[in-house]
Each structure stands twice: as structure tokens, then as C-alpha cells.
Amino acid sequence: MIMPRGQQLLLPAKPLFIVMSLFMALLMNMLENVGLLGNAAWMPDFLALVLLFWSVHQPQRVGIGWAFILGLACDVHQVSFLGQHALAYTVQGFLATLIHRRLLWFSVPSQALQVLPLFAISHAISMVLRMSLSGSLVGWSMFFAPMIEACLWPIVSVILLAPQRRAPDPDENRPL
């Protein structure tokens, strides 16, 4: 595998960890509006973030099909139009497969800058669909959501790559 210089060789990703992380992202999305914030428009979409992360890092495992199914689940939970998030996540997953070879050559902060348009497109699709189907608009606060998601990209990169950064041969001095 061709990699940027000086980058650590990563362990293979565990499928169970990928599934669990997507599950946790869905749970966090629900927690946001069940417990904390109601239905504010600027809330970051953790599921979109984690989906994009895995479709960039593990494109052969998490692809457009997963994005579609999880998008439908998101629609049912949020009681938006069935298919609205599915379409947004599908397009976002496709764009992720377009840029995934290039993106990992950049440092993590500039990766965040490059995924910002993807998040923005995904939110814009939702917004345009809502406008055309029901004529409803929310305020400008909606534009904060993709920015917050892009700012969370470095944090998510650290957390989700941590299991792959462990030592390949753990011993007593390096238990993890």
C-alpha cells in the first residue's frame, strides 16, 4: 500500500468496531434531540460524520448501501420525509468514494477543510428537498451544522483510528 511518509502503519479495522461506531453515532444523534436540544437546526449530524469517515477509510466495507439504509433509519426517527436523509447520505457516500484516495494524503486539519463541502452538500440536499416538497424553511442556523461537523472531523479521526493505532504485539510494558 502506498502511504504518505512518516505515517504509522495501521492495524486492520475490525468490522465489529465499525458497526458499533455507526450504532453509537445513531444513538448520539437520538440523544441530541431526545434529551438535550430538541430540534435545533444547527445540531451536527454524527451519523453523517461517522459514515463519511468510514467510507473514506474503509470504502470496501462501508459504502453507499449502508448510507442508504442508515439514512432511512434516520428519516423514520426524525419523522422527515422517508428518503430525504437516504438521498443525502447516498450522495455524500458517492462523493466520499470519489475523494477517498486523495484525501488521506493530507494532514487531518486540511482533510477537515476538504470534507466541509461534502457535509454542506448533504445538508443542502435535505434543505432543497424540504423547500420543494413542503415549502418550509429554517433559518440560517442550519449552515452551522456542516461547519460543526467539519470541526469534529479531527476528533473523530483520533477516536475511530485509535484501535488501529495500537501496538501489533502487546506485551506487559505496552498492554494496549
Binding site: L9, L11, P12, A13, F23, L26, L27, N29, M30, L31, E32, N33, V34, G35, G38, N39, A40, A41, M43, Q60, G63, I64, G65, A67, F68, G71, L72, A73, D75, V76, H77, Q78, V79, S80, F81, L82, G83, Q84, A86, L87, T90, V91, G93, F94, T97, L98, L129, R130, L133, S134, S136, L137, V138, G139, M142, P168, D169
Partner: protein
Amino acid sequence: MPLGTLDRTPPPFFKQGATPLHKLIFFSCLSVLIMFCDVRWQITQPLRSLFSLALAPIQWMAQQPGFLSARVEVFLQDKGDAQEEAAVFKKQLLDQSLQASQVDQLQLENKQLRSLLELKDRVQTTGQVAQVIYDAADPFTRKVILDKGSISGIHVSSPVMDEAGVVGQVTRVYPLISEATLIIDKNHSIPVLNNRTGARGVAFGESGGAPLLELRYMAANADIQENDILSTSGVDGVYPPGVPVAKVIKIERSADSMFARILCEPLGRAQGVRHLMVLEPVGKDLPARPEMEVVKTPSRSGGR
């Protein structure tokens, strides 16, 4: 280097599956199709119920921190606060007990008078208490999710109210949960009656997104004042008549419009309320609508 350090499964050369572009086209078309079925024909309810059932355990998990914090809050509540609250409720109970004791007598009297006048008996409604699980996350609409569904006997279009007035209407029922649209939702309308004048009207959710109602299509010179109370008129066959809905807070009369712009504040607390009453829809007991007479247009055949 130990085994398992690197991902040793080689990428497949020949069985690569569909290309991303094909997948994009397939899934985009599928989601547009589903959306069309959902919006136009409303036939996606089985699919929604399926996903809803699958999501139920995750939603249950997401609720737990909220329940826990509520329990901690109750545990840490000041004794003084609790006594104050109890005193307020006691006062309310006293206020209502007088009315309640008169209701039986009035109902009997009403029944006798109605039988004397040969009117149909007043529609009786029953209800059950449901708890709000969460506000729907969709920022474009005003909906809440209730913790009772079709298994508990909730029907579509059941009115939902709290102790102060109408809150909304059940618009979608899943097996375990149901979804209620609030009266402040932009696409929701409710027929109302002005308690002071008896004038009927229709109140819509405010289109700007504020938690208010808008009484539309009232003529600019209509007799309506601030602080008028609007209650349900009961002509819709959904809401029982006489339940308070809203209070008029602002009337704008402009010269260039035939109608006055009347803003009302809902009396039922739409947000931050935990327990709601779901009533049986009135329409089940009402007589069926008369058949619409089809107006025959004179045929234009022949002619040329």
C-alpha cells in the same frame, strides 16, 4: 512482525461489484421513489413501521439519561418547592371541585333538555394518558413522539390535549409509538370558535416558525379583540367541541388587505410538556357525511 498486523485480504480484482456511479444512480432513484410514495400516496407506512420497530431499542437507550436525570432531579428537589407545588395543586383542585360537582347535575339536565328537544346526545369522548418521548428532530416541522402506539389503541387523527387546552393531533401511528403534529405546525389547521362572539374561524400554525397560531380569513372589520379565547368548534369531527385552543394576542389591520392578521398564543403548552391526554377521535360517533351530489356538466359532444 506478527500475523494480523496488516490487512492481508487482497482487494478483489474481478468481483468488484457495481461501480460507485451505478450505486449512486440506483440508490438515488430508490430514495426519490420512496419519497414520492411517501409524500404523494402515503403508502410507505409498513416500511416506516418496520424501521420504527428496529429503532425502538436504540430509542429506549437514548431515553435513559433523560429519565435518570429526571429521577435525580426529583431526588434532589427542595422540600419547600415540593410543598409549594402541592399547595398550588390543592388550590386548583378546590377550584375545580365546585365545577365538577355541578357537572353531573348539568349533564343530567342537558340530557333531559336534549331529549325534550329531540336532539342527538352530545358526543362523549374517552381518552388515555401518553408520555412525550421526544420532540421530532426534523427542524422543519413541529411534532412530538408519544410513547403509545396502535398496540395501546391509539388511532390516527386522535386529538391530543393537556390540562390547559388542545396541543395537537395524532398524525401517524406505529406499533409502539405514535407521532402527534402540534397545532403550531405550519401545515396544521384547526376550526375554532370565538368564545366571546361565537364567530367561527380556522386557525393555522404561524408560517414564520414562531410557536403561535394565526387566525386566517377573518375580515378586517370582524369583531375580534385581544385576549379573546378561541375554543374548538367541533365542526371538524376530530376535536370535541368547547376545548380551549388559543388566546388572541395581536391583531394587525392593514388597509391593503381584506383580511386582518390575527396572531394567537396556544393555551396548551406545546413544548416542555411531558404528559398528554390522547382522546378518541370524535368522528367515529358522528353520522356519515352526506354524499356529494355530482353536478352534471352539460355534454359538449356533437357540436362540430
